[in-house]
Amino acid sequence: MSREVIRVDNIGMRFNLMEKKVDNLKEFLIKLVKNQIRYQEFWALKNISFTVNKGDRVGILGLNGAGKSTLLKIIAGVLKASEGEITVRGKIAPLLELGAGFDPQYTGAENIYLYGAMLGYPKEFISEKFNEIVEFSEIGDFINVPVKNYSSGMKARLGFSIATIVEPDILILDEVLSVGDAKFKKKSEKRILDMFDKGITVLFVSHSTEQVRRICSRAIILDKGSLIADGPVDEICKLYEEKYIDEIKKLKKKKKKKKKSIADTKSAQVNEPASDETGEDTVLGGEASGAAKEDI
């Protein structure tokens, strides 16, 4: 059971932020001659190391910009890390943006072959599974219509059906899967849960500790590109909640207090009788008393 499927070894990802974007030759040459090409280094990930064993379901937690998606892209092979080594054993299915690889001019049927080929499946395999894909996606007769005429739900359904037709060794989920209507959502969730039962390895990115608790068995926290915690899901989720969510709540409370105090001083200046309440209430009270006067 404890076969290692993903090994991330001291990964670092550097982006060169050009202070001013240069994307034409003239500007580039001028700046090159003047020696003005300067980059601002930005490390989206730094010194990340962890291993994932077969059957692990790892939740990746972190605030916006913590480097979660960058890490997933590196594992999926889309991005190449600037530093470190990464080894992945087995087939990866990225359920990132479903249907992104469709050609709008192509019909659904043609797109099944194209998208399947993109995911690296051989032709015979796709032909074999073709009916199953069409059936699962519930596209019906629309399969011979160009995809540009599909609704976004249909596209997502077809994309999901193709991407999950084979049982991958590693499934990458970015945020929650919301495919199609409630009925299809249930069906797709069932398919993913079935995969879990078969011991698939999952990498799941989310902000929500509730979702991570439900899906994952293990979690890691990324903060500004560094791995700061790794462990069983409950422990890590608790830590995450304490560290970030409570902090946010505190911040919100502080803001509210500030607002309130401003409102208080305002109402105090107006010298309304209901100075304890917020500004809105005062206005309402004023209107009500006005209406009452008219009635008399």
Binding site: K26, L79, G101
Partner: protein, 257 residues
């Protein structure tokens, strides 16, 4: 190297699918469909013949064949390189999400154009019959300049695709360069009318010698060895440079598209 081959084997079906897609979609929703591969060279050759017949005089009865040989090769080269140049950007949404060997995109663009080109050579055979240009055994040698042209287009396609990712200007610059290549490739005039001191222009043109040898094959002359050497040089150098450049820069593509 072994890894590259294995990877290619895994994705060769994708290469086939993308090539098929390019061909299928090129003429979809046009009433005449794939017939345009034949009609287009016929019509442009007709126009060029009418325009340039006075320059050449009436002595060449097979002038349309002469034009057609040059134009077919040139239009393949220009279409293939232009499309390959844009291939990385037009597939950016896919490149950002799923790992696929990136060279598949420019290579499939060149291949699909090559297949369309091969279909359109039917027009050339038709013109040879109509204008009584007897095919000889030399027509079999035409595969050599055609392969050179394919290699050259692949190489240029890879180079341009890489450059265009970093500099959009390439798309406009290459348009101008293609026009220059067209006018200096002796497509609708005889290379002999150019005086000796300007002959170097032909040597600077990557497709001039390929067209020259292709014409030799069609008209039943043996291949010109000197021209063969020059065009081989252009093809091989561009392919090697293209592969090296592409492989060196491909990991940075995603940061620029």
């Amino acid at each position: 190297m072994d890894r590259v081959l294995k990877n290619f084997k895994k994705y060769r079906y994708l290469l086939f699918e993308l090539t098929k897609k390019n061909i299928k979609l090129k003429y979809r929703r046009s009433y005449l469909g794939i017939l345009w591969t034949l009609l287009e060279p016929i019509l442009t050759t007709f126009v060029l013949t009418v325009v340039f017949i006075n320059i050449r005089g009436k002595k060449d009865h097979a002038f349309p064949v002469y034009i057609l040989t040059g134009r077919l090769l040139y239009s393949f080269f220009s279409q293939a390189t232009k499309q390959a140049m844009k291939s990385i950007r037009s597939n950016s949404s896919m490149i950002k999400k799923v790992y696929v060997p990136k060279y598949i995109y420019p290579v499939s663009d060149v291949l699909s154009n090559f297949i369309i080109f091969l279909i359109s050579t039917v027009v050339l055979f038709g013109a040879m019959i109509v204008f009584k240009v007897q095919p000889t055994k030399y027509i079999l040698y035409s595969i050599i300049p055609l392969l050179q042209l394919l290699v050259l287009s692949l190489g240029m396609g890879l180079i341009l695709a890489t450059l265009a990712v970093f500099f959009r200007d390439m798309e406009y610059l290459w348009g101008v360069a293609l026009m220059l290549i067209m006018y200096t490739a002796a497509i609708f005039y005889d290379a002999g009318i150019v005086s000796d001191e300007w002959k170097w222009i032909f040597n600077a043109n990557p497709i001039f010698h390929i067209i020259l040898n292709f014409r030799n094959c069609v008209y039943g002359h043996p291949l010109d060895m000197n021209a063969l050497l020059i065009s081989s040089g252009y093809s091989i150098i561009s392919l090697v440079a293209g592969i090296v450049l592409f492989y060196k820069k491909q990991d940075k593509f995603i940061l620029n598209i």
